[in-house]
């Protein structure tokens, strides 16, 4: 049971609405994100198959390769960030447990 003071805090922290265009912005960004991921996956497979067949470089291939590398590099960086985040948090907790005993 909350006392009167806590009820006041609850009222002060009543939920707020984001701006009226928030929902539309997020839906638009989500669509672009999905499209970019599909394009990245398509480019990745197209490049992998072409490389396995040892296709020689031409101007169109060069463009596709660079676009693929950009997308692949961003994806690799994001995955690295996730991996290091998980690892660092776990190590911090282990370290604090060990130091706290």
């Amino acid at each position: 049971m909350m006392d009167d003071f806590e009820q006041q805090i609850k009222a002060a922290l009543a939920k707020k609405e984001p701006s009226p265009f928030f929902e539309a912005r997020v839906l638009g960004a989500a669509k672009r994100q999905a499209r970019d991921r599909r394009a990245s996956a398509r480019m990745w497979w197209a490049s992998a198959i072409a490389a396995a067949l040892l296709v020689t470089t031409g101007s169109a291939w060069q463009y596709e390769r660079e676009a693929h590398e950009q997308a692949a590099g961003r994806e690799a960086k994001a995955r690295l960030e996730l991996a290091l985040k998980i690892t660092s948090v776990k190590l911090q907790k282990i370290s604090q447990k060990v130091e706290g005993i």
């Binding site: 009167d4 806590e6 006041q8 805090i9 002060a12 922290l13 984001p18 839906l27």
Partner: protein
């Protein structure tokens, strides 16, 4: 207690966004006290949800996941941008004469005091009083022991009561 998508509506990303945007935005807003920063964090949370949407199996799981990610993202954002200088519980400045709150400014004063808390106690307070979560749920969301959550709550409430009492008399 749980915010749920209406039963009549199939669970799509758009329907979850519509149902939960207020909750996610409010966690970020009450923590960061900056509307545009809160929208930026909330958008990131929902874009992350969009990437993971097929992995989340139930409304309850989605709510838990959104609260967890919104909390962590808000804390990360604050640390990165240093929007809110972290002030120790004993260090928050006393209200000046000009800040003498009247009844209708009490909420603003409470929001300001919560905003002056260090990051972890601040998020604990937001989750407790905005989301009505119990200490065990907050502990699970923030990956901290339950006793730490309770300690944060006790100390934060004590500090806030004392400061409010000093400035406007007994409001309890």
């Amino acid at each position: 207690m749980e915010d749920q998508v209406e039963n009549s509506e199939p669970r799509t990303f758009a329907s979850v966004l519509r149902a939960q945007q207020s909750m996610v935005f409010s966690i970020a807003y009450h923590f960061l006290r900056d509307r545009s920063a809160a929208e930026e964090v909330a958008q990131d949370v929902f874009l992350q949800l969009h990437r993971r949407f097929d992995d989340l199996k139930s409304d309850m799981h989605i709510s838990f996941w959104l609260r967890k990610v919104a909390s962590h993202r808000s804390i990360d954002y604050a640390r990165k941008r240093k929007l809110q200088p972290s002030v120790g519980l004993d260090d928050a400045p006393p209200p000046s004469v000009d800040d003498q709150p009247r009844d209708h400014f009490l909420h603003r004063r409470l929001q300001s005091l919560i905003g002056s808390l260090p990051e972890k106690p601040r998020m604990v307070m937001v989750l407790r009083y905005q989301e009505d979560l119990m200490p065990e749920e907050i502990a699970s969301l923030l990956d901290m022991p339950v006793r730490t959550v309770k300690s944060h709550l006790q100390r934060s409430l004590a500090m806030m009561r004392e400061k409010i009492d000093r400035s406007m008399g007994d409001v309890r």
